[in-house]
């Protein structure tokens, strides 16, 4: 067992983890945050995407020990003070989900991307989300949701 200190959604956690434990299972089973989903176990689907120090990573490709001393944000950490993140509202408003299993990963990947590129084109959104699979929507409303959120967010900032 290895001791790690990791900040998850703003809360400091000290935990003993097995060195081989994946970050996604640390989040789901040790911390109890099940919003981050597992869709493939081969780093293909992106359902497990979280932010590590603000950048999107597939949490099934990292060991929990690699998050030691760092900051992890999961889908549960996206809303603040009871206010939904604009991406969350946009996915809801634009039918950006059906079963919703891909949604947390999509939102986290999109959040990281919009941070880099606040005013993307449709093509750029598609390129950025290539690592996230959705089996239900055909992606059209996901693209719409992200563009909508980008509009809202840059509007908010302006």
């Amino acid at each position: 067992m290895t001791r790690i200190e990791v900040t998850v959604n703003g809360v400091r956690r000290d935990a003993e983890v097995e060195p081989r434990q994946l970050l996604v299972y640390f989040l789901r089973e040790t911390v109890g945050l099940t919003g981050t989903n597992v869709g493939c176990d081969t780093s293909s689907c992106g359902a497990c995407t979280v932010l590590l120090d603000g950048e999107s990573v597939k949490s099934c490709t990292l060991l929990a020990v690699q998050s030691d001393g760092r900051e992890v944000t999961t889908i549960e950490g996206m809303a603040s003070d009871g206010e939904f993140h604009p991406l969350q509202e946009a996915f809801h408003r634009n039918h950006g989900l059906q079963c919703g299993y891909c949604t947390p990963g999509m939102i986290m990947a999109a959040a990281s991307f919009l941070h880099e590129n606040p005013t993307p084109t449709e093509e750029q959104v598609r390129e950025a989300l290539e690592g996230n699979l959705c089996r239900c929507t055909g992606y059209q409303n996901i693209v719409k949701s992200i563009l909508d959120a980008a509009g809202q967010m840059s509007g908010v900032k302006a």
């Binding site: 408003r93 059906q98 699979l133």
Partner: protein
């Protein structure tokens, strides 16, 4: 007077683009999927599966596994408390194999341990002594007399023969084709999972991601040796389904382990196991001959279809029925001979997947229509219009279309959607990501050819062949703290398709109340039938509509009893929380709700008939039609493809939530596109070789083009709100349209989907056939297991339930 009229409308009713009721919880990460379930002190279940496509089990040695750390139970077939087999249509599938295994991945033993890893390790210590037997893994060989037998009675699951008009009628022109489709996987993003909790009454509570709670229970209870009421099934969050969850996966296993250990047991498949743990889309081989007059009227169609059902029946009987009855497509043809056979093999079992037999048929008949158009020198769209079905047309089964059939409209409106602009081809003229292979930096835009392909197709809504898949709903109207409140209870499974939202919309419209809540789906109410066959809006929507209607009548009785009516002949109506009489407000609804009103109703679709000896009968309930056009770009040197646009027009009857309908079209199109271009389980000698998302590819966001859709609304008479099922049509036509576009771009035959790069560059020869197999000798048009007295699964049990009621 006019001023007092209520102009306000109830918001969030039918026809509106209401946002999903589960949209916010799902985008917050607060929605609990089956894989998220947790109970204190729970154990983890693991399944040991057969490594052989066909083998005799000589012995199973579990002692080392039992002695493994953290293990609480190791169970085999001997430990199944009740009936040893289960199945959707026939109970031909062992809960745990004994004596024989019939496919790679068949469950042989189950383990419960304190951690998933401990369970896996213990399972690895179970020693099964197998005697490997010859396997049959080719669907045509399965029909040969000396083929290894998968079932004692042979390998024929069902043979349907449809004789229409004069099958010997001659035509001016004939075209012939042979077609194959591969084994597709539903690949829902959330793998199979559930939690079984032993109850104090000796029964079991099971929380599971499924499509049909009651049929799970009807299969589980006999195997667990429990009366039906002691098995309670609750819907856990479902991460997509598409047919994969119509069959039982871990339900019985987890329940056995929980009952045995007295502890809650969770089972959660990984992706690789998920590919083994559910049924797939039937691979098919199809032979067709189309005869027409010189001016392009269909005269005669000969179709022979072969479907690989794999090792167990699942819903293969119904899939064979569908593929056969739909074999001529949405076209009128006076003469036809259609023969469809579903066979058992030692391949993984196949069953329900979105499109359910209609997908394979559409790929073949639409390729035939294009061939015919080419031979006749007629525009392919014109040829389709010339032969389009309409209301009053007769199917080869003799069934007359008495509902709406806007086939011409969907074809015309799809064809009228503007084509995307031509793009510059040559290298360095555009963003490399937009050329085929650009995302992987292999293609650079040389030698691109554009192709356009078109396909029309159709499918039924709800279950067929005499099956009464009714749905029950309970509705309660009460005075809540913030005005009137409607509560709905239904066992309909929300699998992502949006049925929960539709049910609340229906209640709003029927009762004029905006605050609607939906109870969780479970078996404490009557069956809602399956979330399949595009049927929940019609069936559970119909049940909620009926129950709301009964609540409304009861409310109106109260109103009439209490209010001195100004206008005794005046009509009562509910709108925006008000009771109206002749459009004038009588008062808020809650004024009449000192006592809540509750009603339960069951909706049945109109009865259908079984298929007779000549394949005749009013077999299906209602039909919906669709057309799609695909525009593709092919890199002829590399065999790479980009789909540029999909245009879709769909007959939806009426759209109860247009955005949600469009979402179904887009998502269904992606699965059809996947089948045409990339999705195939590589099954070699009965073994799936690509059971992962690195090797089984599904379309990414870059593979999917924009889908431009048009909804054609001609309300269907006799069904709630005139709404037809919308879930499957786009999957049916998309694959055929993309394949047609690839043919158009390359001039190649491409008679097998998925189309591979080698097919596009000419490195692989198109599959050929020495001809269709002879029709098997069967006792009749029903499932062969029935004639051999094999215990029926749900059909028999449901019939008994109905008798008890």
């Amino acid at each position: 007077m006019g001023d007092t009229r209520v102009r306000e409308r109830t918001r969030g009713g039918i026809g509106e683009d209401v946002a999903r009721i589960d949209g916010l919880p799902k985008s917050k990460g607060a929605f609990a999927y089956a894989s998220d379930l947790w109970a204190d002190g729970m154990l983890w279940g693991h399944t040991l599966r057969s490594p052989h496509p066909h083998a005799r089990i000589r012995s199973i040695e579990i002692s080392a596994a039992v002695a493994s750390p953290g293990v609480h139970a190791v169970l085999t077939a001997e430990d199944v408390p009740g009936k040893k087999t289960y199945g959707l249509e026939f109970a031909d599938q062992p809960v745990l194999a004994w004596d024989r295994v019939r496919y790679v991945g068949e469950p042989v033993a189950i383990v419960a341990a304190e951690h998933p890893e401990l369970a896996r390790r213990a399972a690895a210590r179970i020693v099964v002594d197998y005697e490997v037997l010859p396997a049959v893994t080719d669907m045509k060989e399965a029909l040969e007399p000396d083929a290894p037998k998968v079932m004692e009675f042979g390998n024929v699951l069902r043979h349907v023969r449809i004789v229409h008009g004069d099958p010997d009628a001659d035509a001016d022109v004939w075209v012939e084709g042979y077609y194959e489709t591969g084994m597709q996987d539903q690949a829902p993003l959330g793998p199979e999972a559930g939690l079984a909790v032993p109850a104090e009454d000796g029964g079991i509570d099971v929380y599971v991601a499924t499509q049909w709670l009651h049929v799970d229970r009807q299969q589980m209870a006999p195997c667990l040796g429990l009366p039906m009421e002691k098995v309670r099934v609750y819907l856990a969050g479902v991460g997509g389904a598409f047919g994969a969850r119509e069959d039982v996966s871990m339900q019985i296993h987890a329940s056995m382990l929980a009952l045995h250990t007295g502890k809650p047991v969770k089972m959660s498949y990984g992706r690789a196991e998920s590919f083994l743990g559910h049924v797939h889309r039937h691979p098919s081989r199809i032979w067709m001959r189309h005869g027409a007059t010189r001016d392009g009227r269909l005269v005669n169609i000969r179709a022979r279809l072969l479907l690989d059902g794999g090792a167990y029946a699942s819903s293969s009987t119904a899939v064979t029925g569908n593929a056969s009855t739909f074999a001529c497509g949405p076209y009128e043809v006076p003469n036809a001979l259609i023969e469809g056979t579903g066979v058992y093999t030692n391949n993984p079992p196949c069953g329900a997947m979105r499109g359910f037999g209609a997908v394979q048929a559409c790929f073949a008949y639409e390729a035939q229509m294009d061939k015919l158009a080419a031979v006749l020198g007629i525009d392919p769209i014109e040829l389709r219009l010339k032969n389009a079905l309409s209301t009053g047309s007769v199917f080869p089964t003799g069934q007359v279309i008495d509902g709406t059939a806007p086939v011409r409209e969907v074809i015309e409106r799809c064809a009228a959607i503007p084509l995307p602009p031509e793009e510059p081809t040559g290298p360095a003229t555009r963003d490399p990501i937009t050329v085929p292979g650009g995302a992987q930096n292999v293609g650079h835009g040389e030698g691109l050819k554009r192709g356009v392909g078109f396909a029309a197709g159709y499918k039924n809504t709800a279950f067929s062949e005499g099956f009464d898949d009714s749905s029950e709903a309970w509705v309660r109207l009460s005075a809540g703290p913030a005005g009137p409140l409607v509560e709905i209870r239904s066992a309909a499974a929300e699998v992502g398709q949006g049925v929960y939202t539709i049910l609340t919309q229906i209640a709003r419209s029927e009762l004029g109340v905006e605050r609607v809540i939906l109870d969780p789906s479970d078996t404490n109410i009557g069956s809602a039938g399956s979330s399949s066959a595009s049927r929940q809006t019609m069936m559970s929507g119909g049940a909620v509509q009926l129950a709301c209607g009964a609540v409304r009548e009861a409310l109106f009785e109260r109103v009439r009893a209490r209010e001195a009516s100004s206008d005794p002949a005046g009509e009562l109506r509910l709108e925006a929380g008000q009771v109206l009489e002749s459009e004038l407000p009588l008062g808020p609804i809650e004024r009449f709700l000192d006592e809540p009103i509750e009603e339960t109703r069951v909706f049945h679709h109109r009865p259908t008939e079984p298929i007779d000896e000549r394949g005749q009968g009013a077999i299906h309930v209602s039909f919906a039609f669709a057309a799609e056009r695909a525009v593709v770009e092919v890199d002829e040197d590399l065999g790479l493809v980009r789909v540029i646009q999909i245009a879709a027009a769909q007959d939806v009857g009426s759209a109860l939530n247009p955005r949600s309908v469009e979402g179904q079209i887009e998502g269904g199109t992606a699965q059809g596109l996947g089948l045409a271009l990339m999705e195939e389980l590589q099954v070699v000698d009965g073994r799936i070789r690509n059971a992962s998302f690195t090797d089984y590819l599904i379309p990414t966001i870059l593979d999917m083009p924009p889908v431009v859709s048009v909804l054609v609304e001609e309300p269907e008479p006799g069904v709630p709100y005139g709404a037809k099922g919308v879930g499957e049509l786009s999957t049916i036509v998309a694959g055929a349209a993309v394949a047609a576009a690839l043919r158009n771009a390359t001039g190649r035959e491409l008679n097998r989907i998925p189309v591979k790069p080698d097919d596009l560059v000419g490195l692989a020869e198109p599959p050929t056939s020495s001809g269709p197999p002879a029709a098997p000798d069967v006792p009749g048009p029903r499932s062969v297991p029935e004639y051999f007295g094999l215990g029926a699964g749900q059909m028999e049990i449901l019939a008994n339930d109905a008798d008890d009621a």
